[in-house]
Amino acid sequence: MATGQADALLLVPPGAPVPSRVGTGLRPGFTRRLMTTPIVLALLLLALYLWVQSRDLDIVEDRTLTQGGVLKALAQHLQLVGLSSLAVLAIAVPLGILVTRPSFRRASPGTIAIASVGQTIPSFGVIVLFALTLGFGSRYVIYALILSTILPVLSNTIAGLQQIEPALKEAASGVGMTPFQVLTRIELPLAVPVLLAGLRTSIVLNVGTATVAAFTGAGGLGSLIVTGLVQNRDVITVVGGALTAILALALDHLTRMTQELLTPRGL
């Protein structure tokens, strides 16, 4: 792979547009992989729906598990996850790029130690901490989510950029590319698979952490779970838990497919 791309570069005169991806996406079996999980998840949703319908719901359950109520919780959850994930991307990727530039090399050993400790900080604690110190509401939850889920994306961006053979970058600048072009046309495309793997971990982590948002007044599917726990109604708890799980699996699948689509063919 590496040699192939370098060879291709050598044939291109400086200044000419270089395709940054040597053909992406569809590998054999893609459609099967694309469709299996959504079908399974849809079946699970159906099963959940039927199960709820089959039970005699009392007043509390009835009032909580309305279509509107559930969809509202879902929307809140998606909003929290979506906004914080975008912010994570916007912060972690540039930061990762920055840290891997030659001028920053010395930072390495310290970063690893910090990352190891950072991994053990409970996101539950971070959300509650922000709520106590900054205040309740979705805004601060989003800050907490960003802080709690930034690590996988950051470390994967760094790893993805560091694993690129230096020879490749040299070949690129040898052909006359500016450092910026080397970054955008060679380094980033090659780092994409690893980066997206980190994003996937981060999003899944995010969905889970966002369930805690319910405790701090930001809503989300966690509120169903909490209501179920507080009111001691298993049905509500199970619905909340199941929906959260399905959401996490769905987003994981989506990111995985995007990752496959965006991975350069030769890798």
């Binding site: 400790v117 053990t120 409970p122 539950f124 509650v128 709520a131 106590l132 701090t216 799980a245």
Partner: protein, 215 residues
Amino acid sequence: MSYEEYLGFFQEDLLRQFGDHFAVVLLSTLLGTIVGVGAGILVRHHPGGREVVLKIAGTMLTVPSLALYALLIGILGLGWPPVLLALTAYSLLPIIQNTIVGLNSVNAAVLEAARGIGMSDRVRLVRVELPLAWPVILVGIRTAAIILVSTAALGAVVRGPGLGNAIYAGLNSIGSSVALYQVLTGIGGVVVVGLLLNALFFAVARITIPRGIRD
């Protein structure tokens, strides 16, 4: 109330939570190791079985912790059991993955020599393959344990053990002078558990990995 006063007042609770947190992580890691290494050994030569096992373990890890706790309450009730089971389920992916990789990357010449001197498959697994794969497997177990340290915190919401209870207490006592102390101590305690676990794994590695294969 000052922080020292707070610590003095809640000392007993905090120490118990600290101990419980350590214990539940250690116990689920242990259970996960037994199940995970066993599963890894069974499927290491079967690509089909490998895919299935890894898919299941991976799916379990994708399910968010609060959701998993919530789902397990129905069957196991509140407290230790759902947290223990959920954490064990979470530990499986890294352990199984590393078991498979570790066992399959044992040097082929060593395996051939082992066969050549007359070791049966089982003897070979126990005396050659597992010891040589152990460093990699241990890394997988450690990765799992570290994941569990922070995940266990949320167990407090379902009356599970550990320092999550301090955090939860802080949340529930908003406005009081100790709320912040609770949360900070909870977070700090979890980090300390993580550090202790790392030290523990370092020691285990030192003791159980023979000098001949130490890098």
